[in-house]
Symmetry: C2
Amino acid sequence: MTTQSFHPPERTLMGPGPSDVHPRILEALSRPTIGHLDPVFVEMMEEVKGLLQYAFRTENRLTLPVSAPGSAGMEMCFVNLVEPGDQVIVCKNGVFGNRMQENVERCGGTAILVEDEWGSPVDPAKVEEALKANPDAKVVAFVHAETSTGAQSDAATLCGLAREHGCLTIVDTVTSLGGTPVEVDAWGADAVYSGTQKCLSCTPGLSPVTFSERAVEAIGNRKTKVQSWFLDLNLVMGYWGNEGGAKRAYHHTAPINPLYALHEALVILREEGLENAWARHARMHEALKAGIEAMGLSFFVDEAHRLPQLNSVTIPEGVDEARVRSRLLEQYNLEIGAGLGPMAGKIWRIGLMGHSASATNILNCLGALDAVLSDEGAAIQSGRAVPAAMAKLGNG
Amino acid sequence: MTTQSFHPPERTLMGPGPSDVHPRILEALSRPTIGHLDPVFVEMMEEVKGLLQYAFRTENRLTLPVSAPGSAGMEMCFVNLVEPGDQVIVCKNGVFGNRMQENVERCGGTAILVEDEWGSPVDPAKVEEALKANPDAKVVAFVHAETSTGAQSDAATLCGLAREHGCLTIVDTVTSLGGTPVEVDAWGADAVYSGTQKCLSCTPGLSPVTFSERAVEAIGNRKTKVQSWFLDLNLVMGYWGNEGGAKRAYHHTAPINPLYALHEALVILREEGLENAWARHARMHEALKAGIEAMGLSFFVDEAHRLPQLNSVTIPEGVDEARVRSRLLEQYNLEIGAGLGPMAGKIWRIGLMGHSASATNILNCLGALDAVLSDEGAAIQSGRAVPAAMAKLGNG
């Protein structure tokens, strides 16, 4: 058995997440561990809440990071808002819509499905129809930014429709937070979760969440106990000091060092400014797009609904896509993502998230992709991608 | 709002966890983040599984770290093994037995309580009685090392009794793993969970778990879906490569850097040797005990059942215990733990866990406690604690 320390290679991370972690965040991770009830740590927890309100654009008091990855943040939203017998309209246009359906069913709820093609956004007309056909529905759940396809849905419209019909909303912003506008208060969204390892460029493992007063009220009016002890917001609120009063009730031991890292990631976001971060993601996407198209490759998602931070590129015919990714990893230390589920073998997912959304990464990625694809005999226009991207970056 | 980075003070952590994190582990945390599907990372995941088998003393194939704190590890055991209508014998002798009861009830099971005084171990005779009285019981759940009191129960006997009566066992080893003998295979335990921030001296946030073949079979025979998607072992097994075959199914994004840290913590444990780590915890406890008793203070738990790594010391009369802890923290950067629940105001909990179980920490702690208690006018024998501990350490 091994007794050797593990020393990872240095990769450039341009898949669907994790993204490249800023050196300041890695350094923050290694600061001395202190107790989770230490007054100095509790003060930092308050700062994290405030910084997350900034990132989510919300005044919601109940805004905090769950001590587990994004899929636990998703589950927290469902187990707290859905009770046995509840009807939930679930919009499915990718992997994470499927997962929402699983969550509803495991809570004893009934999922009413609104389906759209993978790669398309959620169609508000279909959602409206479902709302009209199901007047007892309690919640509408949808993914703002589908990580499996790179399509963005119109969260403002969908939240507005749900409200009109007296429904709460659960919104997945795992891939959008920090990359494209997430406007929790302006949308009127009720339960919103995200992840740390996408456009916040932090290490994976935590899930920022925020809940509106309407959601808090609904949780207070539950007829049954939340089925998960770990994710029960009534208990988590006490731990994060959201029940008023200075005293915090012990619930679990917070992951101290990962929270240092999230704090630092949010400080960096605040320094750059949220709008500037959105603009940077958009600008970098334009440069990548210029290069990808100059090479003769095309995008899977329509321009109108395309996420700048997650670029689904159609794999050219006759290419061994897994070998291309392996060569990029082995020869260039560059990670790009494969397609998930039905998208496997059809698309690559190139992430431009957070610290990875940089000119350096784009030129690196286009150059490496050009070299490997040419070498693999793909029908591309070699030599054009990098200059096309440079021209865009120069105009940025 | 703050835009300042957070710089924690340097504390000595002698509470009930987190314990002092080894500098090598802090350094490991800050290594470059790579993708969770990177072949190099997947290889490291395999090493972590092997190292955890070593720490748990088990051949169980299903041995892995849950991507969330110990309370999620606990919940993983219950949601996978308990179905609605199941009877579970829950042994309660502290805070974590209560939490087990909550878990059973939230799974739709019935908890049959076997209660013992806080500070006492679980009484096997009472458990046997409960097994005889409830022939349909499916699981016996108990805490090996109660973090709220510092009492250790006889896991081998309790697991043996459960087996005799055809029951599975769920065992909490959060505070024991790496500190006192945890013998999963020799006990014949079925579902065992732990934490990283106690005697492994890693940062909090992950929960090592291990499941016997009997447990895996029981999970395979479930009539209902596991209520938690995030903690469903059928899915987690696919992610951790436990379904045979090289391919891993995407489930969630593993917390990359915290897993580097756990790997390093386990490499350090392996270097020291598990038996040597147990012996060190025992030796350090003897030194602390000599000092505490020389000062005129006493232990809350009987010597026969006392955990060396978690020392519950009875608070001397007339002392403002919260002020003592604050002064230790502010003047000496030393954290010791308060009592939880009914133990609040009655005991302090002094941890000697992992990297914190050192001569330096003991002398530091006894010296600081002596100084603060004397200054607060407590009736102690000042000046005797440090020499008494030193004499023991010299003989060690």
